[in-house]
């Protein structure tokens, strides 16, 4: 795994998909996806995001244009072999209800003809990885799992053949917000370890902002903008992107950071012991709202146990906003293709 200069894992070159009735699902999309990055395709339903993703593993064949994976034109790769080399996660229903968790996970290895002991080893290893003890979960059937557990199994299954690329189609869409948040955390943690190239489809801009290194916004089959979450939030390229981002882009950005990230040492003045305080684990969005609510430009920051940590200021919020991008980005990543004519 090279962490140095970014290489291109997937290239879409002027790809279009027109259905027999004349409906244009995807129009002239050009996009480079870098090795080891999380690229989130975001858009409303009918925006062409899912179709774009499905063209990468040839579940959908493009009408024109070409797609290269690892430098190879995929129209020249056997689709069965291609799909076995790319992990695929969809909503929880994609688990096979008649197979145990272990069988579900071992599916691609068994298709690839791995010997049985190696399959079992891999199942145990992956269940550990996604936080489900194998002795408890391997023999269960999908209906015995919660939504979040199913989704973990779905991720484990996609990783089973050790693919370099993962395609994820709204994998967390059917989950309650709390489970979803947990899985987002785990997703990011896992990705820091594994550094897979991930193409992630969602209609939820907030999810995109949380998970993406780069966001590709689609609308009406057209790629409207590609950029880091901060770029997209701060400088939406088109009216449609601005609509998708919403009027509260700055708040969304602040919601992404914790007070910890804007923590400053206490100034000369001693903090007002009776005034409002904010906890270091709260989001900067909470900090801003509290400041606005009580008309202050700074707030004392306390630990969970109530001891004083420092302070957070309006100025600090602005700096944190500006600095957020640098923290999230792997260095040296190239810009996206930007907008499309």
């Amino acid at each position: 795994m090279s962490c140095s200069s970014p290489t291109i894992a997937i290239t879409l070159d002027r790809v279009s998909k027109v259905y027999p009735g004349g409906h244009v699902a995807v129009r002239d999309v050009t996009l480079n996806i870098q090795t080891g990055e999380v690229l989130v395709l975001v858009g409303t339903s009918g925006s062409g995001k899912t179709t774009t993703m499905k063209m990468i593993n040839r579940l959908v064949e493009p009408t024109s244009g070409s797609i290269r994976v690892g430098g190879e034109d995929i129209s020249k790769i056997n689709p069965i072999q291609l799909r076995r080399s790319i992990g695929y996660v969809i909503q929880e229903i994609g688990l096979f209800p008649h197979m145990t968790v272990a069988k579900n996970i071992a599916l691609v290895p068994s298709l690839k003809g791995w010997p049985k002991p190696r399959q079992n080893e891999r199942v145990a290893e992956l269940l550990e990885l996604v936080g489900l003890p194998p002795d408890q979960y391997a023999k269960k059937h999908p209906h015995q799992l919660s939504g979040g557990q199913k989704q973990r199994v779905g991720v484990a299954r996609a990783l089973a053949g050790d693919p370099d690329i993962l395609l994820m189609d709204e994998p967390f869409g059917a989950l309650d917000p709390i489970t979803r948040g947990q899985l987002h955390e785990e997703f990011l943690k896992l990705q820091r370890r594994l550094r897979k190239t991930i193409v992630f489809v969602t209609h939820d801009m907030l999810e995109a902002i949380r998970l993406a290194e780069r966001i590709a916004v689609m609308d009406g089959g057209v790629l409207e903008q590609v950029g880091t979450p901060r770029e997209v939030l701060a400088h939406p390229a088109t009216r449609r992107v601005a609509d998708l981002v919403g009027a509260d882009a700055t708040l969304k950005l602040l919601g992404l950071c914790t007070v910890e990230q804007a923590l400053e040492a206490l100034g000369a003045e001693s903090p007002d012991a009776l005034g409002p305080v904010i906890r270091s684990g709260d989001s900067l969005k909470d900090a801003l709202l509290t400041m606005v609510a009580c008309g202050r430009a700074s707030l004392p920051v306390v630990n969970v146990d109530g001891t004083l940590r420092g302070r957070v200021t309006l100025q600090g919020l602005q700096t944190a906003l500006a600095g957020q991008e640098k923290d999230r980005r792997p260095q040296g990543a190239a810009r996206g293709q930007g907008t499309h004519a």
Binding site: N57, R83, Y88, I90, L95, H98
Partner: protein, 211 residues
């Protein structure tokens, strides 16, 4: 009771008739299964085949069995073959319809997940679609078997034997005990077949539904 004494006096005869009855019913259901499942897959895969295939099996279902037997006679003559084919014709529809319905009930996303993971079409059919549709297909086989056991009583009419022998003799001789000696084992066979296949169905469903 006349029935019981008749049965007690001729256990070997009744057993032989029951065995013949069961054999022709099972054979008809078996042939029906072997024909209908591939046809059901075809109907599911190729929409254009749906109307003609359904028309065909519907004909087998709606033409009265007695008439069907009559139609078979000139071609296959008196006896086992004609009866077997007439019964088989009745077994086709439930199995075909249930195979089709079972395949149709599988969510598209499940199939797409399978395809997206790199399964070939035959692998998807054998490892995903059949196992998931199996309980519904079995329900069709169960219906077909119960129908076959009922229809098989008519086989006696063209000399193919079975418990229908006793029933027709009973009717001809206005001998109720004789008639019942054929009818009661037939009913017991039908119930037993229904119960047994139903039990297998539930066994297969268990891993998918209960804790």
């Amino acid at each position: 009771m006349g029935v019981l004494s008749y049965m007690a006096e001729h256990p070997g005869h009744i057993l032989a008739l029951t065995r013949a009855h069961l054999w022709i019913s099972l054979l008809a259901t078996g042939i029906g299964t072997v024909l209908s499942i591939p046809l059901g897959v075809l109907v599911h895969r190729v929409p254009a085949t749906r109307a003609p295939a359904l028309a065909l099996v519907n004909a087998g279902q709606t033409i009265p069995s007695l008439a069907l037997l009559g139609l078979m006679l000139p071609v296959f003559g008196i006896g086992f073959t004609s009866a077997l084919l007439a019964i088989t014709a009745r077994a086709l529809l439930p199995i075909l319809l249930n195979t089709y319905a079972g395949l149709l009930s599988i969510p598209r996303s499940t199939i797409e997940a399978a395809r997206g993971m790199g399964m070939t079409d035959p692998q998807i059919l054998w490892r995903v679609e059949f196992p998931l549709a199996l309980p519904v297909i079995l329900a069709g086989i169960r219906t077909a078997l119960v129908i076959s056991i009922g229809v098989a009583t008519l086989a006696a009419y063209i000399g193919a034997g079975g418990l229908g022998d006793l029933i027709f003799q009973g009717i001809a001789m206005v001998d109720a005990p004789l008639l019942l000696a054929g009818a009661i084992p037939t009913a017991i066979l039908a119930f037993a077949a229904d119960g047994l296949v139903g039990w297998i169905e539930r066994r297969l469903m268990r891993p998918m539904t209960s804790g």
